[in-house]
Structure formats: structure tokens, C-alpha cells
Symmetry: C2
Subunit: 175 residues, 2 copies
């Protein structure tokens, strides 16, 4: 697939950002490419367009799939799998949030619960520390609940909620 300079810029930047999010450059670049592409691409096309190793593409596709970011499309008369991704930034955002929740929030809450349990019986962890850990756990549980509540809301509702946020601020600002 032929990239225009702007598409290249977009993809390269996305790749850089990816490294800040704990996914490697190639993974982020592939996602950006599929996001811009008007049609599903197969692994070979991705390899050629981005100029990375075929094997790298294979690994990265698996990674993107584990995030639930890829749709796999079979085309008539072509054995090769073709990949595409969601075009709606909101949907994308949610999917990534879901992934982060599973990879970061859930395991952390598990560890924190263990910490709370163990500190109840170890007779050496200071009360202050116990309380602090409980605070973090509670905070994360609130985030988790919130995530649960909004994860299925349609985009339009979410936008309303955001505007609501603004109103609450204005209201509170005047009192």
C-alpha cells in the first residue's frame, strides 16, 4: 500500500507514542496503518508498507489481537487473512481501556487484596501502611466500578455526560 507523506507522519508518530504506552513501535504502527487504510490489509502488505520484518508483523498482529483491536476478514478467492481495525476513536479508546484494565487494574487489585489480607495477620506492618494500601485499593475499586458503568454506554450518552461534567463545574464554581 502506498503511503502519502501525511500518512507516513501519522503512522510514525503513532509508533513513537506506542512506546510510551508499553506496546512496541511496530505494534502501534501497524494499528495506525490499519486505522488509516480504506480496506483490510494482509500481513504481506503490512510488511511491505512499513518496511519491517514479516515475522515482526506476525508477532505484532497477535499482540493487537490480544487487545481485541483487530477484525479479521476473509476475502473471496484469497486464502490470506486480511486485517482491519475500528475506525471510531471512541470505540478504540474503550477497547484500549478495557485492555489496560485487564492488564493493569485487575492484577494490581489482586495484589492489593493479598497485601491487605497478609498485613492483617503479620503483626509487623504499621497501621498507617495498612491504611494507605486500603486507600489505593478502594480508589481502584471505584475506578473499576466506574469503568463497568460507562463501558457499554453509546458514544452519544458519553458526550452528554462530559457536557454534564462541565455544567457541574460551572454550578459549583458559582456557589
Amino acid at each position: 500500500m502506498k503511503l502519502t507523506p501525511v500518512m507516513e507522519k501519522y503512522i510514525l508518530h503513532w509508533g513513537e507514542m506506542g512506546t510510551r504506552w508499553g506496546v512496541n513501535r511496530t505494534v502501534a504502527q501497524i494499528h495506525a496503518l490499519l486505522f488509516l487504510s480504506s480496506r483490510p490489509l494482509n500481513a504481506e502488505e503490512i510488511t511491505e508498507t512499513l518496511g519491517v520484518a514479516r515475522s515482526n508483523v506476525s508477532t505484532s498482529i497477535k499482540e493487537l489481537q490480544s487487545w481485541g483491536l483487530l477484525k479479521t476478514v476473509s476475502q473471496m478467492g484469497d486464502r490470506r487473512e486480511h486485517f482491519s481495525t475500528m475506525k471510531d476513536p471512541w470505540e478504540l479508546f474503550y477497547t484500549i481501556m478495557e485492555g489496560r484494565k485487564q492488564r493493569e487494574l485487575d492484577p494490581t487489585m489482586t495484589v492489593l487484596r493479598e497485601c491487605v489480607l497478609e498485613s492483617e495477620i503479620d503483626n509487623e506492618t504499621p497501621e498507617e501502611v495498612k491504611a494507605r494500601i486500603k486507600d489505593v485499593l478502594e480508589f481502584m475499586e471505584t475506578l473499576d466500578t466506574w469503568h463497568d458503568q460507562i463501558k457499554d454506554l453509546p458514544k452519544s450518552t458519553l458526550l452528554k455526560l462530559i457536557k454534564l461534567g462541565a455544567k457541574v463545574k460551572n454550578f459549583l464554581g458559582k456557589t
Copy 2:
């Protein structure tokens, strides 16, 4: 500073999580240590407690400071600087959000705006691609506005907003 097994577990886990967020392990561990600590610690104490190189602590402290996560405290009769961090998870969360916004959202919006401008005049970027990039930019601007609106809200107000979110969901669910 002496760590109990639970504190150690907490700090080690936080370090692991740090690597998923683009900060290195030591940075995250130092932050976790200061978070649990009942008093500000100096660089030497941090070094001994975590068993990492003194120079590493120095670099990591600078990194944490650049995120606005450290308070520096001078103690009477002690030339050394002592460091502490916020104890309120919400405040912490906001501070990190602010940092991420500056490091990720802001530069990305800049690049996207450049992409939009350049694609207006390059006569080669497909309309579809232009639209897609604009969508992402618009999405990020919405996030940015939202961030602006809620960043100064007190914790209590935010909690109310979250509960409101639940109500909106329930309401919509019934119609």
C-alpha cells in the same frame, strides 16, 4: 528504612506496573516507597531500602520531580533533601494524568493539526484518510476539554459525578 514483607510486595508490584506505563522500574519503586513511608526519606535511605545504585536514585528522583510527584522537605539540622509524595490516590491519579496529557495528548494533537494542514494542500492524501485523522483530532480535543473541566474538581465532586454516571446508565437502561 526497614520494609515488612507486605511493603516489599507492594513496592515490587508497583515497580512491575511502572514498566507498563513507560516509567522505569526504579522510578515506580521509589514512588511506591515514598507513598508507604510515614516520613520523608533522603536519597541515601531510598538507596539502602531498595538496594539500587545511588546514581539510579538520583536520576529517578529527577524523573519523579518532572512529573510533579515529589514534595521536597528540608529538615532542621540536616543538609540533605528529603522527599515525600502525596498520600491521596486521587491527587496522585490527577497528577499522573496531567503528566500524561503533557507528554502524550498535547504533542499528538500538535502532530495531528500539522497532518490536517498538510493534507489540505498536498493533493494526494485521500479524503477518507483526512476525515479519519480529523476524527482522531476531534476526539482528543474532547478529551482535552474534559480534562480541563474536571482537573480542578475536588475529590468529593468527582465522586458525585461518578455516581451520576451510574444513574444516567440506569435511566437509559430502562428506556
